[in-house]
């Protein structure tokens, strides 16, 4: 256990997870924003897969799923930065930039595209979803391969090691 205690916390790290691994994590009972992965606390992930569905509510959100071949992950990209009170504590100027960026992400997230998504894991109506922080549309098919290898390698070395 001492050895485990010395390991750095993964709570603020964007873990690279395959779909089926991500779907296996469970929230800690009293802390819904923190999840349990093999006994480790995690909250952020990076996933990569093909956009297989999208539900766009302009000015509110884009809900989409990405499928990496091992599982589908539901993601939500908020588009209401300038109207929601949730962001009231943020700088208006920064929000303006983020809002514009999010809209451009929403435009880019077309069906069939390969997207790399970073975000926080959450539970919505009992289902796991990722609240998107940023999106990168990958055009190099080798990026998918590398991501899978990264997921496997990190799982062996770090997440389950």
């Amino acid at each position: 256990m001492a050895a485990q205690a010395q390991q750095p916390s993964l709570l603020n790290i964007h873990l690279k997870l395959l779909g089926f691994t991500l779907r296996s994590i469970t929230p800690f009972p009293n802390c819904p924003s923190v999840f349990n992965l093999n006994g480790k606390q995690i909250s952020r992930v990076e996933v990569l897969g093909v956009v297989t569905s999208r539900d766009h509510k302009p000015g509110r959100f884009l809900r989409f799923t990405i499928d990496d071949g091992t599982g589908s992950i539901t993601c939500v990209l908020w588009l209401n930065h300038l109207t929601s009170s949730f962001f009231a504590t943020r700088q208006p100027a920064t929000l303006r930039v983020i809002s514009d960026l999010s809209k451009s992400f929403a435009d880019d997230l077309r069906l069939g595209k390969v997207a790399r998504v970073r975000g926080r894991v959450s539970i919505f109506r009992g289902d796991l979803q990722v609240t998107v922080s940023d999106v990168v549309i990958e055009t190099d098919p080798n990026a998918e391969t590398l991501h899978r290898l990264d997921c496997i390698s990190l799982a062996r070395r770090c997440y389950f090691g």
Partner: protein, 1220 residues
């Protein structure tokens, strides 16, 4: 209107400058096809500076006669038309040629006149002209259109002479014209046979065999019936004897229909071929031409292009569109008008696409069927081509090769010339008329015999052109080039070269030797570059790069070199490198009297003075010691391995050791007495010498020849009666001639060297010892050997008996000695232990005599590693060295320590900025523009010292980098003005003492870490206005200096397993911020772009440029994160301008800064090489952050040393291989 002046050729020659002239000066009208000046495909193209020909500023014409070539002009081509007036004749060429002008007076309305030293006068390029009297002298066979030109007589006559012999007529298209050649023959005269050379050339004419042509219709009928002819039958006409001078006319008529009458048939016998029927010109041969010449046929193998450059004395002509014309047979050269910028037309050339693995381009091969004419003269002030008269073996060798192989050999010549520049003479490289040179030997050894073609002479090959045309080029894919010299010690083979570190390289190393190296370390430093080659390396431009001497070396992030001991290498000398006369070397080395000198510093001239003075200098002190070697009384032996040219473990030295001891005890004293003191009084010796110490010497000779000699070391008293030398200075400068650069490079500061005593030698016969500056020239024959001492017995001498490297793989840190003290030398003295102490104290005394007090290094306790001395006496030497005045009253220091890090820096570095102000203009330190800014972190006595320098990276010796132990000599001490700072100058030199090598497939040497990661957030960012402007916005972004300074930035990086606080500055920070990318997605998404419409698609719209504009306003911008650093889009910022004013959300500038940061957080993976920061550095950063009222993030702090983009394929492949 100004009067038109009539100039004579003499006037042009008297004017003495190349120029262009016209009857109507104004905007120069060069010709109807004015060629563009050669475009500069690369910045390294030296042609870009070629000026246009200056124009005469008054209207003028030339009046003179156009004549066929004669042998009277001093012209090496023997085929130039001549232009003459009453004053003088010159070679000329003409565009818009009309045969009617031959022999006529013409008015030259526009011309270029090129002065050439190699031509007796000059070369006239006639651009526009007309006949002085168009009604005079026209020869018409019909009243309509046909002109007739008697070939033999220049007199124009209407009716040809009649002859009894049967004459023949042909009507056809001129297809090809051979070069003019000489055929030895004998001519029967009335009384005797006379030998002479028959000058002539052949013309291939495609004739028609229709009825009209077979029956003797009039010439006019033949020309009129244009549609009835079918020119399919080749006929060869030999223009010989006086008809040879029609060569330029026939060349210009290629592709035209002509009739030639009055020809004779001759049966020609060539070699062992079947007899061949050929038409030959005779006295009454006439050339018939229609007045209006019409090109009927486009000759096969034609190409027209602009000459971009001419290399290798005209053997290689670079044309536009990456076409390379090979003119190795210089008899094919057109007139002297083949100049850079001219448009030339090439007919009957071979189009070859070489299959070289290293370059792609088209070669136009010229053979005896090829004709080249200048279609448009060059408007540029470029030189005429001059053909060399001598035919060397190399040229003959090249002529028998296929075209692509020819180009390879020519490139090889260029490579060899650069590689062996200053080492081998031109004759040794290229050979002579009778001897093969190194290039030819090298090429021959790499070419299969099948590539050599038998040659049959011009006459035969012109007729048998089919074989020439269809000859398939052997596949030359295996032919490679050698790299041009890097100025470093390298191992070179046929494929490439590699830097080497050879610790035991003797001072008199024979650089011609070929070595086989089996035991070696291959040391690699740096990161793997991506699979993608550098875009800048354009394969098609490789030949240009080589010919122009600008090797387009591919940049590599890896520094690779080989480390080995010469004693473990096998010498594989071939007969082409005859061994240096080792006997002479031995006799020079093993006996005689030697001075001991101590090298205090090495001085290189500045860039400015280098042009004037090639010499380099080393300062030396003459020690009060002499070495006498008994020579013949000692023993010499050669290792058993040397018999088969192998140097390896040495034989038992026991026998030589015994001899040595005997000699030392009996002979040395007598010898010395005989040589120095003729009075025979032993007391004289005793009073003159304080010490007389017998010793034995192990001497390394040329080609690893090792022998021993007995001797005696004498230490002379200051007040000695004996004067060994007539005049001797205590301190002097060794002046190395340019050909002794190697000796200079191998010279080590702090080393003791032997110089041979010669009574009349420059060291021993100094006329005026009171001179402040005494120079002793070092020539190739100067004896200069490094000396080392030990008190050990010979058999345990480690300096010559180190164990081999044994092909071992380094499994842990291993220190490779490079120049560690006494272990490496040319001559090793075995003395009693008492002497070594005495000797060292002498050296110390000498140092102290010259040096100021020991270093006072302020807060650092570096006294162990450093010595400082004032530069007082340098001022006095400024007359000699020319540039010492640039270091007025500053302190020079030597420092030895472990290199922790080396990096180039720029203005983004805050410490650099502050320091630079103190340095002033770096040009004052004697550096040229090619220098780069470097910072070297050196660990000395557990403290870190920074050494800055604006230096050329070639100043760093091979292997220089983190992990080595090095001594820095002559570095400038800027303290206390600039705390803890030292500086490299042009006088500095670096000696590597040892290299620490680690077996590291993946970098983690304790200090360095490599991650593939993404930016999560930016914690701190400081942007400053740059003082450095880059005017050329179109230049390569990678090579441009940053136009925005980033003294400090802190990024939060995350690789999926951990996150770090990564500190970066300058280029590293700019890369992580993606500032060099034109598209700023964050910026586009924000309102910023919308308010700056119209500039986003240009280079000026780059993020960097926008930041530049903001910084123009604010000078400095500080961005601090004031929210989360773990989510890219959960960041808020406080942005402060240089004035202290906070930028708020209403500012456009705030939007841009925020966009830059968000943009950095999306999109890219980076491979970041980082260095773990020590506690001092972390504390320093903490202080910075405290000033900014920010806490230090609670994560590991790293300093970015390198930021590289990620290649997905490479990374994935590596992961597959290593982890799965």
């Amino acid at each position: 209107m100004q009067d038109v002046k009539i100039l004579t050729v003499s006037d042009l020659l008297h004017y003495g400058h190349s120029h262009t002239g016209s009857s109507s000066p104004g905007p120069p009208i060069i010709s109807d096809q004015t060629p563009q000046p050669p475009p500069g495909p690369s910045t390294s193209n030296p042609n870009r500076d070629i000026e246009p020909l200056p124009q005469l500023d008054y209207p003028a014409i030339l009046v003179g006669t156009l004549r066929l070539p004669t042998l009277t002009l001093k012209c090496t081509l023997w085929k130039c038309l001549e232009f003459s007036d009453d004053s003088v004749a010159v070679c000329c060429d003409i565009v818009g040629f009309d045969p009617r002008a031959i022999g006529k007076k013409i008015n030259v309305l526009t011309w270029n006149f090129i002065i050439s030293d190699h031509l007796s006068s000059g070369f006239l390029e006639i651009v526009k002209w007309d006949l002085s009297d168009s009604s005079h002298g026209l020869s018409l066979c019909s009243s309509l259109i046909i002109d007739s030109f008697p070939i033999v007589s220049n007199l124009i006559e209407c009716v040809p002479k009649t002859s009894n012999a049967k004459s023949y007529r042909i009507h056809g298209i001129i297809e090809a014209v051979s070069p003019v050649s000489l055929v030895p023959c004998s001519v029967e005269e009335s009384s005797s046979n006379k030998s002479m050379n028959l000058r002539g050339f052949q013309v291939r004419i495609m004739t028609c065999e229709c009825k009209l042509c077979r029956y003797e219709e009039s010439v006019r009928v033949l020309f009129e019936a244009t549609d009835s002819h079918s020119f399919t039958a080749p006929v060869f006409v030999y223009f010989c004897g006086p008809a040879w001078c029609w060569h330029p006319v026939l060349t210009k008529l290629i592709g035209n229909v002509v009739t030639i009458s009055g020809l004779k048939k001759k049966l020609i016998l060539m070699e062992k071929q079947e007899p061949f029927l050929m038409l030959v010109t005779a006295d009454n041969t006439i050339l018939h031409l229609p007045r209006l010449l019409k090109k009927r046929k486009i000759v096969c193998g034609s190409y027209q292009g602009t000459v971009k450059n001419v290399y290798m004395q005209g053997m290689v002509v670079e044309l536009d569109e990456e076409v390379w014309l090979l003119l190795t047979n210089q008899s094919l050269l057109p007139s002297h008008g083949l100049r850079i910028g001219a448009v030339i037309s090439i007919r009957n050339a071979h189009f070859v696409v070489p299959q070289f693995s290293w370059a792609k381009f088209i070669v136009l091969g010229a053979c005896d069927n090829t004709s080249i004419i200048v279609k448009s003269f060059s408007p540029l002030k470029t030189r005429c081509l001059i053909v060399s008269q001598s035919q060397s073996q190399l040229e003959n060798f090249i002529e028998v090769l296929g075209f692509s192989t020819r180009l390879w050999v020519l490139l090889l010549v260029s490579c060899f010339q650069k590689t062996f520049s200053g080492i081998l003479s031109r004759k040794e490289l290229l050979g002579s008329r009778h001897n093969e040179g190194l290039v030819q030997m090298f090429a021959r050894s790499h070419l299969h015999t099948s590539v050599f073609r038998a040659r049959h002479g011009v006459l035969m090959e012109f007729i048998k052109h089919e074989s020439c045309c269809t000859a398939t080029e052997p596949y030359p894919g295996n032919l490679k080039l050698i790299s041009p010299s890097s100025g470093r010690l390298q191992l070179v083979d046929m494929t490439d070269s590699i830097d080497v570190v050879i610790p035991d390289l003797p001072s008199f190393w024979d650089h011609n030797s070929i070595f086989e190296v089996i035991d070696y370390f291959l040391i690699v430093e740096g990161m793997h570059e991506s699979d993608l080659p550098e875009l800048s390396s354009d394969d098609s431009s490789l030949p240009r790069s080589i010919f122009q001497g600008f090797p387009s070396a591919r940049k590599s992030n890896l520094k690779i070199f080989v480390y080995f001991h010469l004693r473990n290498a096998t010498c594989r000398n071939r007969p082409i490198y005859p061994p240096i006369a080792s006997e002479d070397e031995l006799s020079d080395t093993k006996s005689g009297k030697f001075h001991l000198i101590y090298i205090t510093r090495k001085v290189r001239p500045t860039c400015h003075s280098m042009k004037l003075e090639r010499s380099v200098f080393a300062e030396a002190i003459v020690m009060p010691w002499y070495l006498f070697l008994a020579g013949k009384d000692g023993s010499t032996h050669q290792d058993k391995f040397l018999i088969d040219c192998t140097v390896g473990n040495h034989a038992d030295h026991s026998s030589s050791k015994r001899q040595k001891i005997d000699c030392a005890s009996t002979l040395s004293g007598t010898c010395f007495k005989d040589n120095f003191c003729r009075c025979g009084d032993q007391s004289c010796l005793r009073t003159s010498f304080s010490h007389e110490i017998p010793c034995s010497a192990t001497i390394q000779g040329v080609n690893n020849f090792i022998f021993t000699s007995s001797g005696t070391l004498y230490r002379i008293k200051a007040n000695a009666k004996i004067k060994v030398c007539k005049g001797r200075a205590k301190k002097f400068f060794l002046a190395f001639a340019s050909e002794c650069d190697l000796k200079y490079q191998l010279l080590q500061i702090g080393g003791v060297y032997l110089m041979k005593h010669h009574k009349e030698g420059p060291l021993c016969n100094i006329k005026n010892v009171s001179l402040k500056v005494v120079t002793v020239p070092v020539t190739p024959g100067t004896y200069l050997r490094r000396l080392s001492f030990s008190s050990e017995d010979l058999t345990t001498d480690k300096s010559l008996h180190n164990s081999s490297l044994c092909n071992e793989v380094i499994t842990k840190d291993q220190v490779l000695a490079v120049a560690s003290g006494s272990s490496i030398s040319d001559i090793h003295l075995h003395v009693s232990s008492s002497l070594t102490g005495l000797f060292e104290s002498d050296i110390k005394e000498l140092r102290n005599g010259q040096n100021a007090s020991d270093a006072n290094l302020g807060s650092f306790s570096l006294s162990l590693g450093m010595k400082t001395r004032m530069n007082a006496n340098l001022e006095q030497n400024s007359g000699l060295l020319g540039h010492s005045r640039i270091f007025p009253a500053r302190k020079f220091t030597s420092l030895r320590g472990d290199i922790i890090a080396v990096h180039s820096f720029d203005q983004g570095s805050s410490d650099m900025c502050s320091s630079r102000a103190d340095y002033g203009d770096h040009s004052q330190y004697g550096f040229c523009d090619r220098t780069k800014n470097f910072c070297i972190h050196v660990s000395v006595a557990n403290q870190t010292v920074k050494i800055f320098g604006f230096v050329n990276q070639y100043m760093f010796p091979t292997g220089f980098g983190p992990g080595i132990n090095a001594t820095f000599h002559q570095i400038l001490d800027l303290r206390p003005r600039v705390p803890s700072t030292l500086m490299l100058t042009s006088e500095s030199s670096i000696v590597i003492n040892s290299i620490r090598a680690v077996d590291e497939t993946h970098i983690s040497d304790g200090n360095l870490k490599r991650f593939r990661c993404r930016v999560v957030a930016v914690y701190v960012l400081v942007l400053e206005k740059s003082n450095r402007k880059c005017d050329d916005l179109n230049s390569n972004m990678q090579s441009r200096p940053l136009s925005v300074d980033i003294p400090l930035a802190c990024f939060i990086l995350d690789d999926g397993s951990c996150s770090w606080c990564c500190w970066a500055n300058a280029e590293r920070a700019a890369t992580l911020l993606r500032l060099e990318e034109y598209q700023l997605s964050g910026c586009e998404a924000s309102g910023y772009k919308r308010r700056r419409v119209g500039v986003q698609n240009t280079a000026r719209a780059s993020t960097m440029h926008r930041l530049e504009r903001i910084l123009e306003k604010h000078d400095r911008i500080t961005v601090k994160s004031c929210r989360s650093v773990f989510d890219p889009f959960d960041q808020d910022f406080s942005v402060t301008a240089g004035s202290g004013r906070a930028l708020i959300g209403l500012d456009d500038d705030f939007d841009l800064v925020a966009s830059v940061i968000f943009n950095a957080c999306i999109n890219r993976f980076w491979t970041v090489v980082t260095e773990v920061m020590d506690s001092n550095a972390v504390n320093l950063l903490k202080e910075h952050l405290v000033d900014m009222q920010m806490p230090m993030p609670c994560m590991e702090n790293l300093w970015a040393r390198e930021v590289l983009s990620v290649n997905h394929v490479t990374e994935a492949r590596e992961m597959m291989q290593n982890n799965l």
